[in-house]
């Protein structure tokens, strides 16, 4: 009864890149720490908006249960009518029976339909809440986990909770049915009823012994299936790297180990769930035996109608059905509880970057940027930027250069408030970014990321991602500006060409051009180019710059490039090294200073035969 797809779900990470045999299942899970334990209560909160549905479903379940309890009762009367011990005619009883079964069919439909609708809606809301929450969670948290892990929660865990919820209304029905049957059994004949029910404590005892044992097995099954899925997901995402590095055999062997472990764990868990089947059956037999002996005696002695005995037989058999399904539900419940836990962990991820109440909007036509004493880092005690001070005045084009890892990309991330500065202030348009609404900041600052990311879908939709209402003419204008139009038109479908995952069917430079066009189309007041032309040839780059000169006339611009030719024309060049500004000025000034910039500059011209001198100087 364990479906391993549910609980764990998939994830990325840690699977095979590891040399040690230990599987790093937990890598990327550290971010989920804050959690409060009132799952049921919080889940209940999601039922709130659908209260009507819930009440309707519950009433339907109650009615359905009542009909279910009543049916064997009519069987009793029809038996009694047949043997002549009842005053009610068989036809009357059977017409009641007929009415009941029609009601049964209707109520069965209504209860299942209502309860499934309810479950689906609750699940829809839950998933949406998670998804919406993840849109607000800061990148500093997201960086520490893997998309696969989040997907496992959004898909696998939500799925197993859904399975549970869909079944739980009928589980409530089963519970009512149990109670109903107990009432009827005791009502028909107290003594026989009590005797029959005397097997119940045994059942309770058996379960009490079983649960702790089974729990362990179920948990092992869940965990092993989640590591199998994580390993699969990781291998698929990195398949090119796998093939390139000939890791197929090694990974297969590692995966076989995981799958083998999963097989054993799953078989263990099915042992655990099946062992209860004979136990319940034996107790059913015992209860029936009691009915036969005690009830039979009573019938013989004339103290009990034969119809009652038949009804008893029916009830006792029906009685154990819900018990059986309830114990199947137990595994489902276990899984759902674990899933609920993981779902609320996502909802509890702290949102550290949000609009303050009553945020300001940027209204200036050309805002500037200012860093005041900004210190920032990704890991505690490891600052990446140290007390940085600089300003990009409105209308200026400022370039950031520096060796790799010096903190250029980090600066752009701070301007867009992807992360919060540790100390100091990042100001855009004269306001601290923490005071500006994220929406307004997003519209003001356009960012071409160092690593282009495209969505699967058409080229057209990708370019107008930031401005969904943009018409074709605007899209084409942006594409022309970045010199992407020509290659797009070479595709048979032009702008409607469907891109594969991450734009796979384009060359990297082409992807970069599209991501550039996407930023331009949004007409941001501040444009930040982080190595936007690193994978593009200088001819194209020059053409783009000439187009930008017109397009960006009067805008503020921050450019990062390793190719110094790209930034020679900047009004100000800021040279960074290890998170500190080491020099600034324009191209000519900096060359004259003979500092880091001039060394970088000469490196990009010299061949490696004559670099000994600058290299030594650089190392010094």
């Amino acid at each position: 009864m364990i479906s391993s797809g549910g609980g764990g779900g998939g994830g990325g990470g840690g699977g095979f890149a590891d040399r040690s045999m230990r599987n790093a299942v937990d890598q990327g899970e550290e971010i989920f720490t804050r959690f409060d334990s009132r799952i049921v209560q919080r889940l209940w909160g999601f039922f709130g908006p659908h209260r009507l549905y819930f009440v309707a479903a519950l009433s339907a379940v109650l009615l359905f249960t009542a009909v279910q309890v009543a049916i064997p009762y009519t069987v009793r009367y029809s038996i009694d009518a047949s043997v002549g011990t009842s005053t009610i005619a068989l036809t009357t009883v059977l017409s009641v029976f007929g009415g009941l079964i029609v009601l049964y069919a209707i109520m069965q439909f209504v209860q299942e339909w209502l309860s499934s609708c309810l479950a689906q809606r609750v699940i829809f809301d839950l998933r949406r809440a998670m998804f919406a929450h993840l849109q607000d969670v800061s990148l500093s948290l997201l960086d520490q986990t893997q998309v696969g892990r989040l997907m496992a929660r959004l898909q696998g865990d939500v799925g197993s909770l859904q399975e549970f919820l869909e079944n739980s209304v009928s589980a409530i029905g089963d519970l009512f049915l149990l109670i109903g049957i107990i009432v009827v059994l005791l009502g028909m004949d107290l003594k026989l009823g009590l005797l029959t029910l005397s097997v119940l404590p045994l059942l309770v005892l058996a379960r009490a012994l079983w649960i702790p044992w089974a729990k362990v097995k179920f948990r092992r099954a869940r965990e092993s299936s989640s590591s199998v899925n994580a390993a699969l997901a990781e291998n698929i995402s990195g398949i090119r790297t796998v093939q390139e590095n000939r890791r197929e055999a090694f990974n297969f062997e590692r995966y076989t180990g995981l799958v083998q472990e999963n097989l054993e764990a799953q078989i263990g868990s099915s042992q655990a769930s099946q062992i209860m089947v004979p136990a319940v059956d034996i107790l059913t037999g015992a209860a029936l035996a009691i009915v036969v002996v005690v009830g039979g005696e009573a019938v013989l002695g004339g103290t009990l109608g034969v119809g009652v005995m038949v009804a008893y037989i029916f009830y006792v058999q029906r009685f154990f059905d819900p018990i059986r399904t309830l114990s199947m539900q137990y595994t489902m419940m276990q899984r759902a509880a674990a899933s609920g836990h993981r779902i609320f962990e996502v909802l509890d991820l702290p949102i550290t970057i949000a609009d303050r109440p009553d945020p300001v909007e940027i209204t200036q036509a050309t805002p500037g940027i200012e860093f005041r004493n900004v210190t920032f880092g990704y890991r505690p005690d490891q600052p990446v930027l140290h007390a940085l001070n600089f300003a990009v005045k409105p209308h200026q084009t400022v370039a950031l250069v520096g060796p790799t890892g010096s903190g250029k990309t980090s600066i752009t991330a701070l301007i867009h408030r992807f992360y919060e500065a540790w100390e100091g202030e990042v100001r855009v348009g004269g306001h601290d970014v923490r005071d500006i609404s994220l929406e307004s900041l997003g519209q003001t600052v356009g960012l071409v990321l160092q690593e282009p990311f495209l969505f699967s879908g058409s080229i057209y939709d990708n370019i107008r991602y930031g401005v969904t209402g943009a018409d074709k003419a605007d899209v084409i204008a942006a594409a022309v500006a970045v010199r992407a139009h020509d290659f797009i038109m070479q595709f048979p479908d032009g702008y409607d060409t469907q891109l594969g995952q991450r734009g796979r069917n384009l060359s990297i430079g082409q992807r970069q051009l599209l991501s550039f066009a996407r930023a331009l189309l949004a007409k941001p007041k501040i444009l930040i180019l982080d190595e936007a032309t690193a994978n593009i040839d200088s001819f194209t780059e020059q053409a783009i710059q000439q187009a930008l000169k017109v397009l960006l006339n009067g805008r503020t611009c921050l450019v990062i490039a390793h190719r110094l030719a790209t930034i020679r024309d900047a009004d100000l060049i800021i040279v960074l090294e290890r998170g500190r500004i080491v020099e600034q000025g324009n191209h000519d000034e900096l060359l004259k200073r003979r500092g880091l910039y001039s060394r970088l500059h000469s490196s990009s011209h010299d061949s490696f035969d004559d670099i000994a001198a600058p290299l030594a100087a650089y190392a010094a």
Partner: protein, 630 residues
């Protein structure tokens, strides 16, 4: 394991994997796919035999209970077979019956439990086989397959569809068997006992079969559409999270939520429809079942009244019917799970039946490197499904210790060319040889061991720096890893990290800077000490000074390798023995730096552009035109 894998994969003639997932229902698909699944289970004949025997046993014992209970009722109702009523004998008889009931139930319970366990065990074993086969298949499918199949979709197939199939084997198959057995043995039993009542109590069966078939067809359409919708939802969420920086950069939260709502709403509606179909059919089936019971009660009751039937017999029929109720309720589940298994099975087999386009030819030999001469002869290539040639008429030669440089505009085919050498794709025309051996005739393993391609698009695993660098050779010595990172100029930086080589790099290396990622990837390419190394724009994100150091270190370390460097910054290529200039997939200029500068063509213009002192915006005209005119 390989034989098992091949069994799974060759059970059916190969189909094309990229087949559109139409919502159309193919009538023959269901028995074909379910049959194939069942055959997978039959590969465990002993287990399957045992499971079926247990199911049979459980069914038989299940059917004994009505008889015993009926007998008990008759005993209590003074209707012993011999017509005499003796309280003491009746007591004894009741007691015997009671014991028999307990015994029967115990046996039935044990058999049912065993059957359930065996069913799950077989399904898990088949799941095991399928998992491994699926994994292995994906590892061997070529790049062009992975270009067209979204990783999210493949993951969904390997997880959800595999579960769908397994779920069917776990419960579906055995339930069908139990159902058939119960019906078969039971009908024989009740028809023999009393033809009229027997027929009445079975009268609902044809109706249920009819409705169930209809429901199956409807459910299958819905399942196909639902699976497609769910897959869309997955892709949507996944891309949103993968592109979280872009989503935030454009403040597109509300756009993304609206898109999510649209897809999720559609999935919700399909899901609801599935329930309406299932429950509609189920409640009608239950109605039929209870109507049959009403008939039994009516005719049976009348006959009890006129004495031609004992109460016990009537009870027996009624109990028999109540035993049938469980399977009737399960018909819905079985039909649902087989509908799901059909569409899941199709999606899974699509992958398992796909044939890798690039694989070792029969009798492939290991690549033997002697001189280390790589030659491309009249190579042309076009991507599958594309009509345009990405490369035309390429002739190149590089040998050990020499360097080839490649330049060209975006989309000119540089990466495409690089990908042909380790055979990520096969040439469409011409051939590629290494020391005279056509690379299509040697084993992939040996080819890719000799050729290291540092890809332009960097992929790092979310694990430690060490594990990433040593990915090619997990057992590589520490020194080799450090040597590789030192050449890539990364060692110094790693040494400053508190956790050094055990620092985790984050998904795709997010916690590294662009240049650090790129250098990791260079280091990874060096660890295996290849004979041919290709650096595809691998220094684009690195500053010139660091790049020079990388190149200097490389030159010392790799002078025995054949090197191909693709770059946009010409200073990186200047010293190459030969430089080719690609345009639209053709070589338009070639020669060494001096020669190309002297020729005054595109290369010379590019060089002039990159080295002018006044910046790009200084002049209006296109430098290429200028250069060509002069």
């Amino acid at each position: 394991m390989n034989t098992v894998a091949s069994l799974i994969m060759t059970a059916q003639p190969p189909q094309q994997a990229a087949e559109p997932t139409a919502a159309r229902v193919d009538v023959k698909a269901m028995p074909k796919i379910l049959g194939r699944l069942t055959r997978l289970a039959l590969r465990y004949p002993i287990w399957s035999g045992a499971a079926v025997s247990c199911a049979l046993g459980a069914a038989v014992f299940n059917l004994i209970t009505p008889r015993l209970l009926g007998q008990a009722v008759d005993q209590a109702h003074h209707l012993l077979v011999d017509g005499q009523f003796n309280p003491a004998a009746t007591h004894a008889a009741l007691l015997t019956t009671a014991l028999l009931i307990v015994g029967t139930c115990a046996v039935r319970g044990t058999l049912t439990g065993l059957q359930g366990f065996l069913g799950e065990a077989i399904a898990q074993r088949v799941g095991y086989d399928l998992r491994l086969a699926f994994f292995q298949k994906l590892q061997h499918m070529s790049f062009s397959f992975h270009d067209t199949n979204h990783s999210g979709d493949l993951i969904a197939r390997g997880m959800l569809d595999l579960e769908g199939v397994r779920g069917f084997l776990e419960t579906g198959v055995l339930r069908v068997i139990t159902l058939v057995l119960l019906l078969g043995v039971g009908s024989w039993q009740v028809l023999r006992a009393d033809l009229q009542l027997g027929l009445l109590s079975l009268s609902f069966v044809p109706f249920v079969i009819w409705r169930a078939t209809q429901m199956g067809a409807l459910l299958r359409v819905t399942w196909n559409r639902l699976q497609e919708m769910l897959s869309n939802l997955t892709l949507d969420m996944e891309e949103n999270l993968q592109g979280s920086r872009v989503v935030r950069a454009f403040a597109s939260r509300s756009f993304e939520l609206a898109k999510f709502d649209r897809i999720a709403q559609a999935a919700l509606e399909l899901s609801n429809r599935r329930i309406v179909i299932r429950m509609g059919a189920m409640s009608v089936m239950n109605l039929a079942y209870y109507s049959a019971m009403a008939l039994v009660l009516f005719f049976g009751g009348r006959r009890v009244a006129d004495g031609s039937l004992t109460v016990g017999m009537l009870t027996e029929f009624l109990t028999f019917m109540s035993i049938l109720q469980q399977p009737v309720r399960q018909v819905g589940m079985v039909v649902n799970s087989s509908a799901r298994a059909t569409s899941s099975g199709r999606r899974l087999f699509e992958i398992l039946d796909a044939q890798p386009e690039i694989a070792d030819v029969p009798g492939a030999k290991n690549l033997v490197i002697d001189q280390g001469v790589l030659r491309l002869e009249n190579v042309a290539f076009s991507y599958p499904g594309s009509t345009r040639n990405a490369l035309t008429d390429i002739n190149i030669e590089v040998s050990a210790g020499r360097t080839l440089g490649i330049v060209g505009a975006p989309g000119s085919g540089k990466s495409t060319l690089a990908g042909l050498i380790p055979r990520f794709y096969d040439v469409t025309a011409g051939r590629i040889t290494i020391d005279g051996q056509d690379i299509r005739r040697v084993t992939l393993q040996s080819l890719r061991r000799s050729v290291s391609l540092v890809q332009q698009e960097i992929f790092l695993f979310d694990t430690s720096i060490h594990n990433n660098v040593a990915y090619t050779d997990p057992w590589a010595q520490e020194e080799r890893v450090i040597e590789a990172t030192s050449i890539a100029q990364l060692h110094e930086h790693i040494a400053t990290l508190p956790k050094g080589y055990s620092t985790r790099v984050g998904e795709r290396g997010v916690s590294l800077s662009g240049g650090q990622r790129q250098r990791m990837s260079i280091a990874r390419g060096l660890v295996s000490q290849p004979d041919i190394i290709i650096l595809d724009d691998s220094t684009a994100a690195i500053d010139a000074a660091t790049e020079q150091r990388v190149r200097a270190a490389l030159r010392d370390a790799v002078n025995h390798m054949a090197t191909i460097i693709i770059a946009h910054r010409l200073s990186a290529l200047k010293d190459a023995d030969e430089i080719v200039f690609l345009e639209g997939g053709r070589i338009v200029e070639r020669g060494n730096h001096q020669h190309l500068i002297g020729a005054g063509g595109r290369y010379a213009a590019l060089w002039a552009l990159q080295n002018r002192t006044d910046g790009y915006l200084g002049t209006a005209g296109h430098p290429l035109e200028e250069a060509q005119v002069s």
